[in-house]
């Protein structure tokens, strides 16, 4: 199978820049979210539509990112 509708974009979530990658394989949309630096995927979700997959992944990512603390240096 060929992946379809592949997209990759950067945006900010909970104050952190992230990369959102989505593609469709068969009937399923797969979305994964990675931090921009260092680039680790930390949230993902599937859905029947792009919007469903991305909104689920964004909800998880936002929750995880809110737990990241910043310290003064």
């Amino acid at each position: 199978m060929k992946p379809e509708e592949h997209s990759r974009r950067q945006q900010e979530l909970a104050g952190w820049p992230v990369t959102i990658e989505t593609y469709k394989l068969g009937d399923v949309y797969h979305c994964a979210i990675a931090n921009v630096d260092p680039g680790a995927r930390f949230a993902r979700a599937d859905g029947a539509t792009r919007e469903e997959a991305e909104s689920r992944a964004i909800e998880k990512a936002t929750r995880y990112l809110a737990q990241t603390r910043k310290f003064e240096v």
């Binding site: 199978m1 394989l25 931090n35 630096d37 930390f42 993902r44 910043k70 240096v73």
Partner: protein, 280 residues
């Protein structure tokens, strides 16, 4: 692709598309996100889970020899198979697998340049089938621990300055502004870096498409921080996977003789009672 890299250690996505199902080749995906493989992988590729299959799950350690032999055997790999690794995040954990396979002396290990990111961006075929392979018997030789740094060696490096330390984490982790990459659980008690370490984030090894930078670019990147291969080098990150990629770069793309990966990394040093920490 680098013009002066050691031969054969990197393969292109084109090469993999042509050779993925060759009998003498086994393509294996190893991801940070262990679910990535099931979201579609290179047709014919096996998938290894780094959290359960590429480590000792009881003691914090790399994979034991008998477990490696079992894993390779069930993946249909013998001592002469060319293993081609790739994965997400520009091959972080593919490099982790590469490092362990070299510790156990597997001769022909390669990395697909650009990893999963490039394969996807090129719109190449993906499969969700889990292939099965005819079982083989694999015999691992004694581990080559000259590729690995343990805590005492790192402490000696700090005290005696006989080895250069390369911290490959992000600048925010290096300074101690954050304790772990955004979105990931904090796994240390203190932020900062090992005294004397140079900050060369792993991502600087790679181009935007996930491929490795050229030999000249990589050489200049490390030379700018005084890392030339003339002295032993120890790379570290948080848990040893990002530093595997930097280890791969220095050892196999730049040809530095004495490079070790400190897989204890910041989750060991940053939790160690009394260990000196430098900030920022």
């Amino acid at each position: 692709m680098a013009t002066q890299t050691l031969p054969g250690v990197l393969v292109t996505t084109d090469w993999v598309a042509q050779h993925a199902t060759d009998a003498a080749v086994r393509v294996v995906e190893v991801d940070v996100d262990t679910t990535s493989y099931d979201q579609g992988h290179v047709p014919g590729a096996a998938g290894w889970n780094w959290t359960t299959e590429l480590c000792d799950t009881l003691v914090r350690d790399i994979i034991p020899a008998n477990k490696l032999e079992e894993l390779l055997g069930k993946t249909g790999i013998d001592n002469k198979t060319a293993i081609v690794l790739y994965g997400d995040n520009n091959n972080w954990f593919a490099a982790w697998a590469f490092w362990q396979l070299k510790i156990y002396g597997h001769q022909d290990v390669r990395i697909m340049d650009g990893g999963r990111k490039k394969w996807l961006a090129e719109g190449r075929d993906l499969s969700t089938d889990r292939p099965s392979f005819p079982a083989t018997t694999y015999k691992a030789p004694a581990p080559d621990l000259s590729l690995r740094a343990f805590l005492p060696e790192v402490q000696q490096a700090v005290a005696g300055k006989k080895a250069a330390l390369v911290d490959v984490r992000s600048p925010q982790e290096f300074t101690g502004e954050i304790l772990a990459p955004p979105g990931l659980p904090e796994t240390c008690q203190r932020g900062g870096h090992i005294p004397g370490a140079k900050s060369i984030p792993w991502g600087k090894n790679c181009n935007e498409d996930g491929t490795f930078k050229s030999f000249d670019e990589l050489k200049a990147l490390y030379a700018a921080q005084g890392i030339t291969g003339d002295q032993p080098v120890i790379a570290y990150c948080r848990i040893g996977e990002r530093s595997s990629l930097t280890w791969f770069t220095m050892k196999h793309l730049l040809g530095f003789k004495d490079v070790r990966n400190y897989d204890g990394s910041w989750t060991e040093w940053g939790n160690l009672v009394g260990a000196p920490v430098e900030k920022p």
